[in-house]
């Protein structure tokens, strides 16, 4: 049920990631496969760079030195480097710090990428799909750890930090939470949350953050919706993958809606000027 996903003027979303794991593709993505992928993705991800991987082979008991095999796999990105795609023999990772909505932006991009992969070097199947949204919720005035998030974050998520819960002689210093929900057959939503300092997504990493906020206290909401094949390994087929991604996206969106309050939406997310 994609749709209704217009991004906020001042979104808390720092990174959106899609990882698809598959059985190792024989021959990898060097040479012709890499060029074919580049051609197929040049409109959306025009920059291509190479990422090298070295594998050591050690013969136990032999006096011969360890041999090194060097494998190169491609990394594609937009010109501003806010969206990147890494394609390895056994997994692809598509991520962006410039998310502009599921229906409007990320889903079509996923469609292009998995379509290209299917055409160029179709993997034998799909082992795991993970769709992850990492939010850094920064609120003006909440700057000292662990912060008072009441009124902004749903109180159910703040239960362990509630002042009336903590004994008088104890003082809360750090806390983190993790919850895992079964969403449908084979699918799971794992949410990691709690106050943190600095950044959850490094602005200096290879996938750049456009105008990153100042480091400081933020409330992390890291929603990881994933599916993995427990029994049969389905075929790597673009339409099936997109439908599965829709199914993974829905609980993330639903959880986000209940995790943040209207006050947070109104006072922070919907403010046209980015809070720094």
């Amino acid at each position: 049920m994609p749709g209704d996903t217009s991004p906020f003027p001042n979104p808390p979303l720092a990174l959106t990631v899609l990882e698809i794991r598959y059985p190792e593709v024989v021959g990898g993505f060097g040479g012709e496969a890499r060029i074919a992928l580049k051609d197929a993705l040049s409109e959306f991800l025009p920059l291509m760079e190479s990422q090298a991987e070295e594998q050591f082979e050690v013969a136990i008991g032999a006096s011969a030195p360890a041999s090194v095999q060097r494998r190169v796999f491609p990394r594609f990105s937009t010109r501003d480097r806010t969206t990147g795609l890494l394609v390895k023999q056994d997994a692809m990772v598509l991520e962006t710090t410039a998310y502009e909505g599921w229906t409007e932006h990320f889903r079509p991009l996923v469609g292009e990428v998995v379509g290209a992969l299917e055409q160029v070097s179709r993997p034998d199947g799909v082992l795991r799909i993970g769709l992850r949204y990492i939010d850094e919720i920064r609120i003006p005035g909440i700057e000292w750890a662990p912060g008072d998030w009441r009124g902004y974050i749903d109180e159910h998520l703040l239960a362990g930090a509630a002042p009336d819960f903590i004994p008088a002689h104890m003082r809360l210093s750090v806390w983190q939470g993790v919850a895992q929900y079964q969403t449908q057959a084979g699918s799971t939503l794992a949410v990691r949350y709690g106050p943190q300092e600095g950044y959850a997504v490094d602005p200096q990493s290879a996938t750049r953050r456009h105008r990153p906020p100042r480091p400081g206290l933020f409330f992390l909401l890291d929603s990881d919706s994933y599916w993995q094949s427990d029994e049969e390994v389905p075929e790597f087929e673009a339409d099936w993958l997109l439908n599965r991604c829709d199914q993974l996206h829905a609980p993330v969106r639903e959880f986000f809606k209940i995790a943040v309050t209207n006050k947070l939406r109104d006072e922070v997310f919907n403010q046209s000027v980015k809070v720094e």
């Binding site: 136990i60 030195p65 990394r75 993970g130 750890a145 794992a190 990493s205």
Partner: protein, 222 residues
């Protein structure tokens, strides 16, 4: 008192082990690249450890063989010298070869065979050669020890096992037997580091236009 500013990643050890069951999260590109780097580092360390372990095991094995050879030598040194010489001769060693590896002249060897006494050092050297031949025969199943020791280690260099013994390098003979001749270059490097230059031939064999073999200087084209 120290103030906790982050949650510890290594909780206090307990018999319960890891009691939560949350899957590792979906990986970002950084995670995947870091994972590759981490795997590379771990593999490199493992390779280094394995090489070091192999090197240590080699050293330990050599030490153990040396101790065994010395013990066996001490035992054989108690025997009659002429009988030890006769045993070597019966293994296929010529008297000239025995004199060479015992580092004495052939006439001196003849005197020992006649029953004249030898110095303790010479007696021990002969006993060591006998003990070594026995070890090579027993442990590494080399039946014709004399023939094996007369065989050059490499075609490129005229160095034999007898040369190793003549230079008091019974350790290299044992290593040669132990490696089943797999690393003769390494043994020659240990014995004589400049052997490649010393024994490099100025001429080479080539197939002449008439199809017959000929010789020429090694750096000559045709």
């Amino acid at each position: 008192m120290a103030q906790a500013s982050s949650i510890g990643q290594s909780p206090t050890g307990a018999s319960v082990g890891r009691y939560w069951d949350i899957e590792p999260p979906t990986r970002t590109i950084n995670d995947v690249v870091d994972e590759v780097g981490n795997l590379r580092n771990r593999t490199k360390l493992l390779a280094d450890d394995t090489s070091h372990l192999h090197w240590s095991a080699d050293g330990l094995h050599s030490d153990a063989l040396a101790i065994e050879l010395q013990a066996s030598t001490s035992q054989r040194a108690k025997e009659n010298l002429s009988e030890l010489l006769q045993e070597l001769n019966s293994l296929g060693f010529s008297w000239r070869a025995i004199a060479r590896i015992a580092q004495v002249s052939v006439p001196a060897l003849r005197k020992w065979r006649m029953g004249l006494s030898a110095t303790g050092e010479n007696r021990r050297r002969v006993a060591e050669i006998v003990a070594l031949c026995q070890m090579v025969f027993d442990k590494y199943l080399i039946e014709d020890v004399a023939g094996w020791l007369e065989t050059p280690l490499l075609a490129d260099a005229p160095i034999t096992g007898l040369d190793l013994l003549a230079r008091d390098r019974s350790d290299l003979v044992l290593r040669l037997a132990c490696d089943y001749g797999e690393n003769p270059e390494q043994i020659l490097d240990d014995l004589e580091p400049g052997w490649r230059d010393q024994y490099a031939s100025a001429v080479e064999v080539f197939a002449a236009p008439d199809g017959l073999p000929g010789t020429r200087l090694a750096d000559q084209e045709t």
